[in-house]
């Protein structure tokens, strides 16, 4: 079985400065991989490089094979066919990931209609509206009719993130990249969104690339992790191995920090 996403010595540079260095991992259908590391360690850049969406001024080298196609150096038009079909991304900050001036129903309808068209079964009118409402149902949004007509600023943070997830699902991706999807949310909502992602990935048999610096969350969500530090891979392996028996000081310090935070939370509650 060929991997959905396979990175080999992927590096990202800004001029001569390396932001991600020689990163390698691969991800099959149904697998879940966590990419962890402190802020600025290159997690988001990795996901952007893997989808060919690096901002201007940054360049990638090495190999990133997504759904059998080499992403590095591929023309944008080819990548566009992959994006929204093979892969979709859920971003960290749901408020900025949604167009403030477009009703959220329309925002979800957009990728839905595109995917349907690519599949040769175009959707429009009421059928499209129904499909949007069905997706809202799938991400457990209450009052889908009302919410479809709302603008992002009229929704709660958790609702917005559900919309963002619905937009990603609308692409029917084989691989879902979730870039710190719960960082901007409060603890209760976090748990709900994680539960939702977990269920969706299972039900749709998607692969999940889960990006986070929240170790407990990662431990509960994925099977394997890659630990990044300043763009370098520090450690990689099964969650139980890496977290149970960290070999690298950096991983130990991340774990210690997470534990301290945990203790503090429990002490307070």
């Amino acid at each position: 079985m060929t991997a959905l996403l396979s990175l080999e010595n992927l590096s990202v540079h800004a001029g001569s400065k390396a932001l991600v260095s020689n990163l390698s991992f691969s991800l099959n259908r149904g697998e879940r991989l966590g990419l962890i590391g402190e802020s600025g360690s290159g997690k988001s850049l990795t996901s952007l490089a893997a989808t060919g969406l690096l901002p201007a001024g940054l360049s990638a080298s090495g190999s990133a094979i997504l759904a059998g196609k080499q992403v590095i150096g591929a023309p944008d038009r080819e990548l566009n066919q992959l994006r929204g079909t093979a892969v979709a991304i859920v971003f960290q900050e749901p408020l900025t990931a949604l167009d403030p001036l477009m009703r959220v129903g329309k925002q979800v309808a957009e990728p839905l209609a595109r995917r349907a068209k690519r599949d040769g079964t175009p959707l429009s009118g009421t059928a499209l509206d129904q499909a949007v409402l069905a997706l809202f149902d799938e991400v457990a949004l209450p009052e889908p009719q009302r919410i479809a007509k709302s603008y992002p600023h009229e929704l709660s943070g958790g609702q917005r993130q559900r919309i963002a997830i619905a937009m990603a699902l609308a692409c029917k991706p084989d691989l879902l990249i979730a870039d710190e999807p719960t960082t901007a949310l409060d603890v209760t909502t976090q748990a709900e969104i994680l539960g939702l992602l977990d269920r969706l990935v299972r039900e749709r048999n998607m692969a999940l690339l889960f990006i986070s610096h929240d170790l407990p969350v990662v431990a509960n969500t994925v099977e394997r992790v890659v630990v990044l530090r300043q763009g370098e891979t520090v450690e990689a392996g099964n969650v139980a191995e890496v977290f149970g028996n960290p070999r690298h000081d950096y991983t130990k310090s991340l774990l210690a920090a997470a534990r301290r935070l945990d203790d503090a939370m429990e002490g307070r509650v």
Binding site: L48, T51, L53, P55, A56, G57, N80, Q81, L82, R83, G84, T85, V87, A88, I89, F91, E93, T96, A97, L98, D99, P100, L101, M102, E110, P111, R114, R115, R118, Y151, H153, E154, A164, M167, A168, A170, C171
Partner: protein, 282 residues
Amino acid sequence: MSTTTMTAPADKKSHSLALKAGVVLVGVHIAIGLLTLVWLPYDPTAMAGGRLEGPSLLHWLGTDRLGRDLFTQMMIGSRIALIVGVGAVTIGAVIGVTLGLLAAFASKWLDDALAATLDILIAFPTLLIAMLVVAASDTANLWSAIFALGIALSAIVARLTRILAKRVLVMDYITAARTSGSGWPKIVAIHILPNIWPTLSVNFALQFGLAVIAEASLSYLGLGAPPPNASWGRILQEAQGTVYTAPLGAIAPGIALVSLAIGVNLLADGLRDTIDPTRRAR
């Protein structure tokens, strides 16, 4: 929800008041402008009464030094001002938005080159650029003035569009649209233009005012529409010799200019608040 609606009414009221004032001011000029197409009180070029008569029931604003009815000329002035404003802003918007978007998407060196060119163009006063363009075309008429003003405005519009589009381009929802497989033309149409439109449209209103005033200045300098087009600027220029004996000839064009410019700005401000849902709710 309840707290926002508590504070909303006062704000809303002043907004809708501004919008109404804008509608009335602009509406009056449009109504007059349209009326001139089918009816005028007097022949604008013929002697309609004595020279420099004061206001009367027959001549609401009096007559000028050639005995022509001033109110009739002011009416035609409204029509010309509207044509100039709409024409110049349309030309400026089409060229400016296109250039601005191109710059926002261009490679770094092309973007830098465009940005520098625009900065240099903008450093010249609008009026000066318009004068140069008019001077370069051999016949001064209304359309050469409109074209010249449109070109001059397009630099300002382009610079603003470029900045606004760049700001939208780095937003997550653009990346999100790209990850879902949206192509650039579509992203420009459904995300970028709608998001820069509220700010652009208010700027267009400002440009409208600028264009009308600049055309009046061109006419005042004799570079605008030639007679018998009674532009407000020409009325002003012709009245300046007799400003102490017949001050209305100078006052009326001034008031007309200011009322139209303010009206368009109030209208644009009010409209933006009704277009933009994030403002509407607040």
